[in-house]
């Protein structure tokens, strides 16, 4: 029994020794395999949600995302709607959005980029204000708070 324990212990050590030696040369391929695991994707609360629509005008594209209500075990009552402007964006951005696709505009947003001012006209009562409005590497992004 004692001998078996010693052999098991030493085998475990040598397995670990090999693991450490191959860890760094194999890091990229191990990481790639880990990145393919089903849970290795960012939660929509961080990505901003799936893309629902794109409105292309001149040199600028407005990306409208699906509303995000993701919670831990179930959807939450409050969430957000993210809009991204890509490309050459005018000084003043204006958009009227129907995020739930019911044919009625839900809110209008006006952004004065020069003064970093964002004005929201919450047409629908589910619209709860501007959570984030910020310049980004691709243009500008806005998150509008929503309730269900």
């Amino acid at each position: 029994m004692k001998k078996a324990k010693i052999i098991a212990g030493i085998s475990w050590v040598f397995f670990c020794l090999i693991l450490i030696i191959i860890l760094f040369p194999g890091l990229n391929s191990f990481s790639l395999s880990v990145s393919k695991l089903p849970f290795m994707k960012l939660n929509p609360r961080y990505t901003g949600g799936e893309i629902a629509d794109k409105i292309i005008s001149k040199n600028c594209t407005l990306v409208i995302r699906k509303p995000v209500f993701n919670g831990f075990l179930k959807e939450r009552n409050s969430g957000f709607e993210q809009l991204d402007w890509h490309g050459t964006i005018p000084e003043i951005i204006k958009a009227s959005i129907d995020y739930d696709h019911d044919g009625i505009k839900d809110f209008c947003v006006l952004i004065d980029r020069k003064n970093s001012k964002t004005v929201l006209d919450p047409i629908d009562r589910k619209i709860k204000g501007v959570l984030i409005s910020t310049p980004t590497s691709y243009g500008w992004a806005v998150r509008i708070g929503l309730i269900k």
């Binding site: 004692k2 324990k5 010693i6 052999i7 098991a8 212990g9 030493i10 475990w12 050590v13 670990c16 020794l17 693991l19 450490i20 030696i21 860890l23 760094f24 040369p25 890091l27 990229n28 191990f30 990481s31 790639l32 880990v34 990145s35 089903p38 849970f39 290795m40 994707k41 960012l42 939660n43 929509p44 609360r45 961080y46 990505t47 901003g48 993701n70 919670g71 831990f72 075990l73 993210q82 984030i132 910020t134 310049p135 980004t136 590497s137 691709y138 992004a141 998150r143």
Partner: protein, 383 residues
């Protein structure tokens, strides 16, 4: 008596120490320089060679002097300082500030660190997604590579990660060495269970809020890496918490107690790492036959991992980070590195040699990139 000391002596002759360093020399040469040092940028080539020499000299001395902790600590502390330097330098170069903006969060550009891992687990299981604004696979400190590095280190070293792998631990390790004697000698035993309470709290709050709450509200190391831009009362409160916890648990208390108080009383990942001590092949063992119960080891342990009861029972607690401080302090060599399954008091040199090789190799290669980067930056400033 002399005979006992002789057979348990960890020091090696100069030649034997060189021989033991040779495998480390060859492997770190391959891993750090890629097999051919590149001198197209002389300061970067020089930094690479300096780091390669530093790690090998430290490893040589571990064998030659038969001591572990002080040589380990040199690299561990340099690692912590250089990682912070690298991060801050990157942030200031790219963003002109130490804080990250809302755009960085929206574009998922926040570097991932292993302290997020405990908070990722429940959302990963229940929502099949990661609750962190970082990159899954591309770029610096991406989520996949950090998870792989931590997972392998934790399986192999257990809580040894906290003395041989974590790029934060060197901060309180460093401050705990400043005074020769502690001002505060005793802290209630119960405090060392605090990381488990913090772990439970952050795991639950992170799952409920779908936010890495420890990073957003508690992590003291935000003070030396990066934190949210102060634009509101909330972000100012967070910055205040980060700075006070850093000042209190990473600087002041370690200086006063000579213990690593942040790692002992706060870090939730330290709690998980402690549990992993149950599976790792390397342990610290007590040979009760040689121990004279002087309790020097209890006195020097920086992580409250040893009590006089542990010594009497002949068992090191699960908080042990295998730093080697107690091993170095024990004049009887009664406390020593061991391997699971091998009885205490036997194969001490064999166990120590294997443990040092594995743990030091991990630290040397993991830390090399940021130390080279830091040295490179400093050399550029000088020349």
């Amino acid at each position: 008596m002399d005979n006992v000391l002789k057979t348990t002596e960890m020091r090696k002759s100069f030649g034997k120490s060189l021989l033991y360093t040779l495998p480390m020399f060859l492997i770190t040469f391959m891993f750090i320089t890629g097999g051919k040092p590149n001198f197209s940028d002389p300061s970067s080539g020089l930094a690479m060679i300096m780091v390669f020499l530093l790690v090998n000299v430290l490893y040589f001395f571990m064998h030659f002097k038969g001591k572990t902790d002080k040589y380990r600590a040199v690299l561990f502390i340099i690692f912590a300082l250089s990682l912070s330097y690298t991060l801050i330098h990157n942030m200031i170069e790219v963003r002109k500030s130490m804080s990250f903006s809302q755009a960085d969060i929206l574009e998922c550009r926040i570097p991932f660190c292993h302290l997020v891992i405990p908070m990722m687990i429940l959302p990963a299981v229940f929502t099949k997604s990661i609750i962190f604004p970082g990159s899954i696979i591309s770029g610096f400190a991406n989520i996949s590579s950090m998870v792989v590095l931590w997972l392998v280190a934790t399986i192999v070293l257990g809580r040894g990660f906290c003395s041989w792998g974590c790029f934060y631990g060197g901060w309180d390790d460093g401050f705990s060495r400043i005074r020769k004697r502690p001002v505060i000698k005793k802290i209630g035993e119960l405090w060392k269970w605090m990381p488990f309470a913090v772990l439970l709290m952050v795991v639950l709050t992170a799952a409920l809020s779908m936010m890495p709450t420890y990073c957003s509200w508690i992590c003291p190391f935000k003070a030396v890496t990066e934190f949210e831009q102060v634009t509101s009362v909330e972000s100012a409160t967070k910055a205040g918490i980060f700075l006070s916890l850093f000042g209190g648990l990473v600087v002041v208390l370690p200086v006063m107690t000579r213990k690593r108080t942040q790692c002992s009383f706060l870090c939730p990942l330290g709690a998980i790492n402690s549990l992993s001590n149950k599976i790792t092949p390397f342990t610290v063992k007590i040979d009760k036959g040689s121990c004279n119960e002087c309790f020097k080891c209890v006195y020097v342990c920086p992580l409250y991992a040893l009590t006089s009861e542990d010594i009497k029972a002949g068992k090191v607690s699960l908080f042990c980070s295998k730093c080697g401080k107690c091993v170095d302090a024990c004049s009887k060599k009664a406390i020593h590195y061991g391997i699971r399954g091998i009885p205490a008091g036997t194969m001490k040199n064999f166990s120590r040699n294997l443990f040092l090789f594995v743990s030091f190799l991990f630290m040397a290669v993991f830390s090399a990139g940021s130390i080279i980067n830091t040295l490179h930056g400093l050399l550029k400033l000088i020349f």
